[in-house]
């Protein structure tokens, strides 16, 4: 018997092109997702060295970070944003890379459209010049973010020079209590292991609670793996995965589907496979979570209060905590549910999928956004938007006083016009609460779509369980 292997070990072995004596590997990349912000310098590099894109048929480009979420027929007002998107458009034309244009219904956030189009499949290696590429790990694909030099490397060679990561497994046992979402699971995990807890590792999420999640929920969990320091998250492919993939435009067609299924079923970790690090979480202990600070690890149950730096023993941590609270404008001891908010953002590659919008709409139905709150709903893609409109979710949101926008990254990183003003407090379904992330001086509280909708209505950070 050969040594039991993890899902990661198997995908890695399947993609080895070459191994050097010192263990440095050349691995093959099955999918390369390209967007406008981290690619212009890579295409410029190809141009300067007279290199070509080796496999345009494994590559897809889309503009998402800079696109306006308001009426696009007028073009893009910001000249730099416009230049970046025009540069992508001329690059994809010059190098023959498939592209979803801004007026294409398939346009959207790169990590939403990959799965939606069946481009993301089990067992693949997937990269993108974006750290939230970890999202695609929900399919049992090894997916991770890379820098622009590596984008150029993949464009030119369809490979990457890497060393294998270590294996980590996070098992979520038990039964998820009512009102606790995938976002709460991953926020609680980050709170537990810390923002560097997964550094150097690929994290496999396992256990009955993970297996019970929909693909949308699994994507939310894998998406935020990078906030725990791990470049990639993984979930073993199963019937839920196969049912989601089947029939999508780039999924294997009839005739190849059975062969693909047979292959995918060999991927899950072998019984007895060993991990360098193991963490177990009891789902029964989980409640809705919200971040209070400027790192995703600054997270606590919604029922909690702003922490007190005086109670932190470690000097470095105390300094960091004091800085966070000063930036966030928070007083120790304040209950989270008393924090008045100015804006709400529902969307992003973390929570911009149809299920997220359904969950938020269910809370918004028949209620009103508080008069002092501006609340944005930004679908993750044109197809998510279309589906939501077919289900009448847009009408629910609009009737409640939410704004219904065009798809894109929007206020997750505020590269377009959607942003916080200095001092504004926001309930956000995105993934980072770093200083200035949603706009200079903006104050971000990360939360689930349910909590974001509940907070928009309450006008303060709110426990969605109290409303639903």
């Amino acid at each position: 018997m050969s040594k039991p292997r993890t899902l990661f070990d198997k995908i890695w072995a399947n993609h080895l092109v070459h191994t050097q004596d010192d263990g440095t590997c050349l691995i093959y990349i099955d999918r390369h997702l390209v967007h406008e912000v981290t690619s212009p310098q890579a295409f410029e590099g190809l141009r300067m060295t007279k290199r070509v894109v080796r496999r345009p048929d494994l590559t897809i480009a889309v503009a998402d970070h800079n696109v306006p979420t308001t009426d696009r027929s007028k073009g893009i007002a910001d000249p730099e944003s416009r230049t970046q998107i025009e540069t992508l458009e001329s690059n994809v034309k010059e190098f023959g890379v498939p592209y979803f244009a801004m007026d294409d219904i398939r346009q959207g956030i790169v990590h939403i459209i990959g799965p939606e189009q069946g481009m993301t499949l089990p067992g693949m290696t997937i990269v993108c010049g974006d750290s939230h590429t970890s999202t695609h790990g929900a399919f049992g694909a090894l997916a991770f973010g890379i820098g622009t030099s590596e984008v150029e490397h993949v464009l030119a060679t369809q490979t990457l020079i890497q060393k294998p990561a270590k294996n980590m497994r996070i098992t979520v046992d038990g039964v998820l209590p009512r009102g606790v979402t995938a976002k709460d699971i991953v926020l609680a995990i980050i709170g537990r292991i810390g923002t560097a807890g997964g550094t150097g590792h690929v994290v496999e999420f396992a256990g009955p609670v993970i297996r019970g999640l929909s693909m949308e929920g699994r994507m939310t969990v894998c998406n935020m793996t990078i906030e725990a320091g791990a470049r990639a998250g993984l979930i073993a492919p199963d019937e839920t995965t196969f049912a989601y993939a089947k029939g999508r435009p780039h999924a294997p067609k009839a005739g190849q589907w059975e062969a693909a299924l047979n292959f995918w079923r060999t991927l899950p970790s072998d019984p007895g496979a060993s991990y360098d690090k193991e963490v177990t979480i009891d789902a029964a202990t989980l409640v809705p979570h919200v971040t209070w600070g400027t790192s995703p690890q600054d997270v606590a149950p919604i029922t909690g209060r702003v922490p007190d730096p005086a109670r932190e023993g470690d000097a470095n941590k105390r300094a960091s905590l004091e800085r966070s609270l000063a930036y966030m404008g928070l007083t120790p001891g304040t209950p989270f549910t008393e924090l008045r908010i100015d804006k709400v953002f529902i969307g992003s590659c973390t929570n911009g999928r149809i299920e997220d919008l359904r969950a938020a709409a269910a809370l918004a139905h028949g209620r009103k956004v508080a008069s002092h709150v501006q609340a944005l709903v930004v679908p993750g893609s044109g197809l998510v938007k279309e589906q939501a409109e077919q289900e009448g979710l847009d009408k629910i949101f609009l009737a409640a006083g939410f704004e219904w926008r065009e798809p894109g990254c929007s206020m997750c990183l505020a590269m377009n016009a959607d942003r916080l003003e200095p001092g504004e407090r926001c309930g956000s379904t995105s993934n980072r609460n770093f200083e200035g992330r949603q706009g200079r001086g903006g104050r971000t509280h990360l939360m689930s779509p349910e909590m974001a909708a509940a907070s928009a209505i309450a006008g303060t950070i709110a426990d969605p369980r109290a409303i639903s």
Binding site: V17, H18, Q20, D22, T24, L26, Y28, D30, V37, T38, P40, Q41, D57, L58, I60, H65, T83, Q84, T87, P98, M119, G123, M124, D130, S131, G145, I146, G147, S149, E150, H153, T157, Q158, T159, I161, T195, A196, T199, G200, I226, G229, A230, R231, H250, Q256, A259, F263, S295, K317, A319, S320, L413, M415, P422, R432, F434, G436, R437, R440, G441
Partner: protein, 205 residues
């Protein structure tokens, strides 16, 4: 890529943990289509007021550190976004080496593509180097990649570990893509094998 062999320079102390790439270069500076000229945006929101004036208390605005070539920082330096604009901004400002107890994976990898040396050392050693850095421009660190040594202002030598292949590429200033293209035959045979085992992988236009 710029080679890195030896460096003698002033080290700026940044005793914060989790310095993320949004801090190193905020998103409003990611709209560029070039790699160069980003030094003026380095640590933008920590370094400048909204009106563009300098915040005098920020370390890189202090006379002793305006020409720093090294940063000594807290754990998990470079966490967050994969933006290579972060090392581009550091490099353009003149920073060639970052010393911290730990680095985020993507940032760590991006440094090596740009001739920047990230050195991870135990907290206790970083604390001593932080003390050196606090002494300002009179206290330079000598960093020797060939020997894998840092020499402190008092002459003490500290050894550091680094991946052998990455060290080699940095010392020689090698172009990764050029190296990989030499393995074209291996890639060809991998693709041929994959074409028969997983024929569903290519995307029809």
């Amino acid at each position: 890529m710029q080679k890195f062999d030896k460096l003698t320079g002033v080290a700026a102390p940044m005793p914060m943990i989790n310095i993320d790439t949004d801090m190193i270069i905020p998103k409003q500076h990611l709209k560029t289509i070039k790699r160069t000229g980003l030094g003026k945006a380095l640590f933008d929101e920590m370094r400048f007021n909204a009106d563009g004036s300098e915040k005098p208390e920020f370390v890189l605005n202090q006379p002793a550190y305006r020409k720093a070539q090294v940063i000594v920082a807290g754990a998990n330096f470079g966490c967050g976004s994969s933006r290579e604009h972060a090392p581009w901004a550091l490099l353009d400002f003149g920073i060639r080496c970052v010393i911290a107890p730990s680095f985020a994976d993507i940032f760590h990898s991006n440094c090596f593509k740009n001739g920047i040396l990230p050195i991870a050392l135990p907290q206790e050693i970083c604390d001593r180097l932080m003390d050196d850095a606090r002494k300002g421009s009179n206290a330079t660190l000598l960093i020797d990649l060939e020997k894998q040594e840092i020499t402190r202002p008092d002459g003490e030598v500290i050894k550091f570990q680094i991946d052998a292949f990455k060290r080699h590429c940095l010392l020689e200033g090698l172009d990764d893509i050029g190296l990989t293209l030499e393995k074209g035959a291996d890639v060809d045979s991998y693709e041929a094998k994959q074409k028969s085992s997983q024929p569903w992988l290519p995307m029809a236009p």
